[in-house]
C-alpha cells in the first residue's frame, strides 16, 4: 500500500516538474516587459525596482501595500517617502541611493502615490 503511495507521489513529482518548467516559460503576465499603459516615467522604475516586493500593482507582498492610498497615509509628506526610498528602512526596505538617481526616486514616489 505504502509502496503504491510512494510511486504515485513520485509520478506526481515528475508531472509537477514538467508543469513547473512549462509555466516558467509560458506564463507571461499581461504587459510584462513593457512599461505599463498610461503610466508616467515612474511606472518603469517601479516595475523594475519595487514591484517584486510591493507587488506589480502596489498591492503588497514581501513589502507592505502601497496602493489604495496606503503609502500616502503612511507618509503624508512625500519628502518622507523619498527619504525612505533613498536611505532604506529597517525591516527589509533596501536603500536605493546610488542605484536610482534623485530624479528616478522622485518619479517613483510620485507614481506610488497615484496607485
Amino acid at each position: 500500500m505504502l509502496k503504491r503511495i510512494v510511486m504515485g507521489a513520485e509520478v506526481l513529482a515528475l508531472l509537477a516538474i514538467a508543469v513547473f518548467v512549462v509555466m516558467l516559460f509560458a506564463n507571461e503576465p499581461e504587459g510584462a516587459g513593457g512599461g505599463g499603459s498610461g503610466g508616467g516615467p515612474g511606472t518603469e522604475v517601479f516595475s523594475a525596482n519595487c514591484a517584486r516586493c510591493h507587488g506589480a500593482d502596489g498591492g503588497g507582498g514581501i513589502g507592505p501595500r502601497l496602493a489604495g492610498g496606503a503609502v500616502v497615509d503612511a507618509y503624508p509628506d512625500a519628502a518622507d517617502e523619498v527619504a525612505v526610498v533613498t536611505d532604506g528602512k529597517s525591516g527589509g526596505m533596501p536603500s536605493f541611493d546610488g542605484r536610482l538617481s534623485e530624479q528616478e526616486i522622485d518619479q517613483v514616489v510620485e507614481y506610488t502615490r497615484t496607485l
Binding site: 505504502l2 509502496k3 503511495i5 510512494v6 507521489a9 513520485e10 506526481l12 513529482a13 509537477a16 516538474i17 513547473f20 509555466m23 516558467l24 506564463n27 507571461e28 503576465p29 510584462a32 516587459g33 516595475s47 519595487c50 514591484a51 517584486r52 516586493c53 510591493h54 507587488g55 506589480a56 498591492g59 503588497g60 507582498g61 514581501i62 513589502g63 507592505p64 501595500r65 528602512k89 525591516g91 527589509g92 526596505m93 533596501p94
Partner: protein
C-alpha cells in the same frame, strides 16, 4: 580483428563527474533564468493565506519539517539512531515519501521566487537566499540521481543527503525564518 564483445563499466570517477555536472547544470539553469527573466512581481496564488509570500513561508516550513523527518528516517535506516528498536519494513518507503512530498511542497515556492522575484542581489540575505535556492535544486538533482545509479561509493548518498538538507536549512533561514522574525510592520504572518 574483432571488437571486444563486452563493454567495460564506466569508471566511478566518470559517474561522479556526470552527477556533478547534472547538478551544476540545474543550478546554473535556475540562476540564469532568475537573472534573465523579467520578474513579474505578481502574486498568482494565495490559497487561504493573505498573500503568496505568506503561502511560501509556510509551504517552505512544511518542506523543511518533512526534510527533517526524512533525515531522521535516514539516520534510522543507516543505524545511526536506534529508535524504534526494531526497524520497521516500511521505513525505506516512508523515507522516499517524505522526500518526495518535501520536494512537491517546495515547487510552488520556487516557482514564485523565479517567476515573480528573480535572482536578486539587494542585500546579503537576499543574495544568499538566491544562491541557496539554485544550489538546493542542483544538489537535490544529484541526490535523486545517486539513488538511481549503481556503483557509486557508499558514502555518497548520505553525504549528498546531508548537503541537500543543509541547503534547505540555508534557504529556509534566509526567507521563512527572516519573514517570521523580522518581517516589516503591518505584514500578517499567515
Amino acid at each position: 580483428m574483432t571488437a571486444p564483445a563486452t563493454t567495460a563499466p564506466r569508471p566511478m570517477s566518470v559517474r561522479l563527474l556526470g552527477l556533478l555536472l547534472a547538478g551544476a547544470a540545474v543550478s546554473v539553469a535556475l540562476g540564469v533564468y532568475g537573472k534573465v527573466h523579467d520578474p513579474t512581481g505578481e502574486q498568482p496564488y494565495t490559497l487561504f493565506f493573505t498573500g503568496t509570500i505568506n503561502l511560501k513561508v509556510w509551504f517552505a516550513t512544511v518542506a523543511i519539517l518533512l526534510a527533517a523527518l526524512q533525515l531522521l528516517l535516514a539516520a534510522r535506516l543507516y543505524g545511526k539512531i536506534s529508535i524504534p528498536k526494531k526497524s520497521p519494513p516500511w521505513l525505506g518507503d516512508a523515507h522516499r515519501l517524505t522526500g518526495t512530498l518535501a520536494f512537491l511542497v517546495s515547487l510552488p515556492v520556487a516557482y514564485h521566487c523565479l517567476w515573480a522575484l528573480g535572482f536578486q542581489s539587494t542585500d546579503t540575505r537576499v543574495v544568499l537566499h538566491s544562491l541557496f535556492g539554485c544550489f538546493f535544486y542542483g544538489v537535490f538533482t544529484v541526490k535523486v540521481l545517486s539513488v538511481r545509479l549503481h556503483g557509486l561509493p557508499d558514502w555518497l548518498l548520505p553525504a549528498v543527503g546531508g548537503v541537500t538538507f543543509a541547503a534547505l536549512v540555508g534557504l529556509w533561514t534566509t526567507s521563512s525564518l527572516w519573514f517570521i522574525t523580522s518581517r516589516p510592520a503591518g505584514i500578517p504572518l499567515l
